[in-house]
């Protein structure tokens, strides 16, 4: 389990995390709030195309292809099949495609955000948006803890198998199973958390005190262009429509 990227081996994102956050909101607003006629439809297509282009830029060609195909099927279904069918078939298509097509684009964009942003870029961007330490520090510790939790729980499950603790059989039962897994997991997480705080304190971590960042996060030309586009979309959605 891993959100965001943990290393950036020779790879540099072209967008600022703040732009990505704004786009994530705007794309969802547009896709959920528009229909299939006139300007609405045009907007939908533009928003759906954004993740596609971005996937190509970060060289995730297979993801791009898959996403593009699914998108095409969706649009075809919603724009062509729904108007020309009636009765049960129409209902079926609406129920299956409707919610899915409204989630798909936003989901794809969120996925892009996770694969193109490192944790340090994200945390630096939060700082630049003046998010207080009380939120940004727990967030970065959280990202750091996901893999640790996975490692620990893997080891505990191995130990359970060694001792023959299974869902069925002598020491079985779901509740027992959960208890046996959660108690050692909590103990080891507490211990790791305790040692981690001690180590961070000796490195001078002091929430609330100003600190610098070596991670470069800057709004470039592309970012401003996309911000302008997003604002345009928002104005259309909230005012013009």
């Amino acid at each position: 389990m891993q959100f965001f990227q943990y290393g950036n081996e020779g790879y540099k994102s072209i967008l600022d995390p703040r732009t990505k956050l704004l786009l994530l909101v705007v794309i969802n607003v547009v896709i959920i709030g528009t229909g299939f006629t006139g300007t609405d439809f045009l907007l939908r297509i533009v928003c759906a195309a954004i993740p596609l282009v971005l996937f190509v830029i970060i060289r995730r060609y297979r993801t791009a292809l898959l996403y593009g195909l699914v998108c095409l099927v969706m649009f075809f279904g919603e724009a062509v099949l729904i108007p020309c069918t009636t009765g049960t078939i129409n209902l079926l298509i609406v129920i299956t495609l409707g919610p899915f097509s409204r989630i798909l684009v936003g989901y794809a964009f969120a996925y892009y955000m996770m694969c193109s942003t490192t944790v340090s870029e994200f945390v630096t961007a939060l700082k630049q948006m003046r998010v207080p330490d009380q939120i940004s520090i727990p967030l970065s510790v959280m990202f750091r803890f996901f893999p640790t939790l996975a490692e620990e729980s893997h080891a505990i499950r191995d130990a359970m198998r060694l001792r023959g603790i299974r869902l069925t059989g002598k020491n079985g039962g779901l509740l027992k199973q959960i208890e046996y897994e959660v108690v050692p997991l909590m103990m080891s997480t507490l211990r790791i958390g305790d040692e981690l705080s001690a180590a961070s304190l000796t490195k001078g971590l002091n929430p609330g005190k100003p600190r610098t960042h070596i991670c470069r996060v800057k709004m470039e030309l592309w970012d401003w262009a996309l911000v302008a586009l997003s604002l345009g979309f928002l104005i259309y959605m909230l005012v013009l429509r």
């Binding site: 290393g7 970065s140 191995d158 001792r163 023959g164 000796t202 100003p210």
Partner: protein, 471 residues
């Protein structure tokens, strides 16, 4: 640079029975460390050496609470009245556990972390990082996920992340505990570099051989007091017998004993054992391996040689392995292997589940044992392992050594003929290492086949009937 004046410290905590108690850290300790000196702190576990390192970086008394008397001054600051944050620019700390000392998820951010907290301008931090990376030959480790590094690489990053902010004093608390021989060699190079740059270095450590050449002084602590002060020249002339008298581990490197051939009588035979991890090149292929029954066999070899994978295959944790395992005239399929071989893991915390020691032992009993027999049998095994007085205690409240014994008790009642130990002596002093060795011999003498995976040459020398080297 560092001055302790009649310092005593007692930790406040609760014992295994839930009573409030005070544990002695150090007791009336007076010592000075000069600028640029390389000092090794040695002594049994619980002798107070970790407390000394914590007093230098301020974790005692500001993070670990207790009663402090006397004065500690570091770089002219009084530790009691200044905070950990005030000491941070002057003291860099490297800890024992590579899993819990990184705040960031990637190596480059971790290297910058301490300097960022000190508000050093970003360009200067980048310059310092480039310099340290060059000095320590660690270009290949940059911009990587911390979670993809080996233990040795993590400890190297930990050292580098401390060095980037250029503190005058470096304190290390058992930095070699989780490292193999190659990792220790790398660590020794880093320490030599720091010494050459004129840093003041204080290392608390059990394994001493890699520090012998570097040490200016060795301080031997006993019961929180300074027992002996040995100058560097003298350490370099001392032999292992003299180290042993003082309860210390060897001052000189010990070669792993040679492999002996074994007469094929009663053996555990592995043939054509093969296993490969998904999406990875790691795996093992063992054409033929036999392990004598009722003996202690040590498995040695560097990290990544497949020792742990072999252990997982033998215990049946990797079901998709190919090849055969034969023991006592029958074939053990992967599914059956959990009742052949019981593993005592390196981190025993992972394998203790219940809320009392007695229950923990009963949990491991095979289904064939009847209800009335269970408790007496468990108590008998606890008796054998000197654990009876702890039978109602929560396993997590025990000390590391006691937990290990509880895990062993589980293996004994499970009636598995083979017991496998993964690094049972990592981070142990001489006395505790010998205790573990005695325990392993005791298990062998009751007829168990004991397999030990270890990086500890002294343990191998002490107990192994046979050594198998993986490479």
């Amino acid at each position: 640079m560092i001055k302790f004046q009649d310092v005593s410290f007692h930790y406040k905590n609760t014992d295994a029975f839930g009573k409030q108690q005070k544990t002695r850290g150090v007791d009336g300790l007076t010592l000075t460390v000069k600028k640029g000196e390389f000092v090794v702190l040695a002594g049994d576990s619980g002798c107070g050496k970790t407390t000394v390192t914590r007093l230098i970086n301020g974790l005692v008394p500001h993070y670990y609470e207790g009663e402090l008397s006397g004065t500690v001054s570091v770089c002219g600051m009084d530790v009691q009245s200044s905070g950990i944050g005030d000491l941070a620019p002057h003291v860099g700390s490297v800890f024992q556990n590579p899993r819990s000392q990184f705040f960031n998820v990637d190596t480059t951010s971790e290297l910058a972390f301490a300097s960022e907290n000190l508000c050093t301008p970003p360009d200067e931090i980048r310059k310092n990082i480039r310099r340290i990376v060059q000095e320590m030959y660690m270009e290949p480790l940059m911009d990587r996920s911390i979670f993809a590094l080996s233990g040795g690489e993590k400890q190297k990053v930990a050292c580098a992340s401390v060095a980037v902010a250029e503190p005058e004093i470096m304190v290390l608390d058992e930095p070699s505990s989780n490292l193999d021989a190659a990792g220790i060699e790398e660590l020794a190079k880093v320490l030599a570099l720091w010494k050459a740059k004129g840093k003041t270095v204080v290392v608390a450590e059990h394994r001493l051989y890699y520090l012998t050449a570097l040490a200016d002084r060795l301080l031997l602590l006993r019961d929180g007091k300074l027992a002996e002060e040995i100058p560097g020249d003298q350490i370099r002339r001392m032999d292992n017998a003299q180290a042993g008298e003082r309860g210390l581990r060897s001052f000189t490197p010990i070669a792993m004993p040679e492999t002996e051939t074994v007469s094929a009588e009663d053996v555990l035979v592995c043939e054509d054992l093969e296993f490969h991890y998904k999406h990875s090149e790691n795996g093992i292929h063992i054409p033929y391996l036999c392990i004598p029954r009722g003996k202690i066999t040590a498995i040695v070899g560097k990290n990544g040689a497949g020792k742990s994978t072999f252990a997982r295959v033998l215990c049946g944790l990797e079901r998709k392995s190919r090849g055969s395992v034969r023991f006592e005239g029958r074939e053990w399929k992967p599914k059956m292997r959990p009742s052949l071989c019981y593993m005592i893991m390196q981190d025993v915390n992972h394998q203790l589940f219940t809320d009392s020691v007695l229950e923990e032992v009963m949990l491991s009993m095979p289904e064939s044992v009847s209800k009335q027999e269970r408790e007496p049998l468990a108590r008998k095994v606890l008796e054998q392992l000197d654990l009876s007085y702890l039978s109602d205690i929560h396993p997590m409240a025990l000390s590391g050594g006691q937990k290990q014994r509880v895990a062993i008790a589980g293996g004994v009642v499970a009636k598995n003929p083979v017991l496998l130990f993964d690094e049972p002596t990592s981070g142990l002093d001489l006395r505790h290492m010998r205790q573990v060795a005695d325990l392993l011999r005791q298990l062998r003498d009751t007829g168990k086949t004991v397999i030990v995976i270890t990086h500890d040459p002294e343990l191998v020398q002490e107990i192994a009937d046979r050594v198998i080297a993986f490479c």
